[in-house]
Point group: C2
Chain length 196, copies 2
DNA sequence: GTCTATAATCCGATAGAC
DNA sequence: GTCTATCGGATTATAGAC
């Protein structure tokens, strides 16, 4: 296999295992076994575990950009686009209940490890935040677009964490509906600030 | 030192290190060093790492019950009691930005490890949920008390996760204010105190 | 590019002296 | 109850054959 193909295979497997098992709990042997190559061959492609993590984060950034573009292509209405985001927790419910949100759980783990890549991992949140803020701005909420974006992100993270801990499907559906309701309440030309 | 005192010392140190570094990343050597005893002596008090985890979770359950009682003693108004909970993320802001919410991050880690104690760890969430539901019931929201309780829990978890990832203090303050505002919007008009 | 073999380290856990 | 010494296994990482 070519070097780039093998490298891509490693990143793909590592991406999934880091999500399912966590970064530290995933060993080189785990990745090598599922990627179908020996441990020794690993160091030809990645000299250290940190390097794989950076490649996985870069891949997630690229995947996220692709997903955001597909939501833009799928709906011209900014409100519908924001709903596309809010409904991830339902579409990926089974995975989230088993392993949480890939972004939130990785940031939490890297924070505890005091790993320098925490900021890189949080970059996926920044991608979502800025994209959501664009949609809110398009809805006429330019002034507090970023605050509204972070509010939606916050709720999706809270839902994911409690879904993992408690495994309550009704709770997930109910809270996603509450986001939909909240979104519509933001719609009217009335400029209602989030705070105060 | 007596056995129970040493055991308590181990649990206290393990509690803090599990929070700061994570469960798996904390070794027996780490705990032993900070508790001031040898690795070998460990197994007199805890025969396995799982046993320490269970003791830590039991200690957190007890601490949480104590905290809930102190909030009950500190305020007779259920709304004020709920605010006591919502404001944890501000009181513990520095720790949360560094290591996340102790309950949420532990549940996430145990979920990825497929560790049987995940349900026990989630028991702290259940304590908070039931206590919050009691307060909402006392405010006249008996019918949806549990859903309201989970909503508050969800928001505090979302705030904690984003605070850890992004380190934005303004975001934390703004979202706690938004919870306060939401709380007042939940009050049935009849139970609202007369202004004078 | 891929492999085997192995070094060096750390882990959880045990045995036994005191 | 506390200690030292140590086992067996897993881990990251390297060296070198092919």
């Amino acid at each position: 296999m070519s070097a780039s193909a093998t490298r891509g295979q490693i990143v793909s497997v590592a991406d999934r295992l880091f999500y399912e098992q966590g970064y530290e709990a995933t060993s080189f042997a785990d990745i090598a076994a599922e990627a179908g190559l020996s441990r020794g061959n690993f160091y030809y492609h990645f000299k250290a575990k940190d390097a794989i993590l950076e490649a996985v984060i870069a891949a997630r950034m690229a995947d996220t950009r692709t997903m955001l573009e597909s939501w833009e292509d799928g709906a011209s209405d900014p409100l519908e686009r924001i709903r596309s985001f809010a409904h991830i927790v339902i579409r990926n419910q089974a995975k989230i209940m088993a392993h949480g949100c890939p972004v939130g759980t990785l940031c939490n783990e890297l924070a505890k490890l005091e790993h320098g890549a925490k900021g890189d991992a949080a970059g996926v949140f920044v991608l979502f935040r800025d994209w959501l803020a664009e949609q809110f701005a398009a809805l006429g909420r330019e002034r507090d677009a970023e605050a509204l974006a972070l509010h939606v992100l916050m709720r999706s993270q809270g839902i994911a964490t409690l879904a993992t801990a408690l495994g309550d499907e009704d709770f997930v559906r109910r809270e996603v509906r509450a986001i939909d309701q909240w979104l519509e309440d933001q719609l009217p030309a009335v400029t209602r600030p989030l705070q105060e």
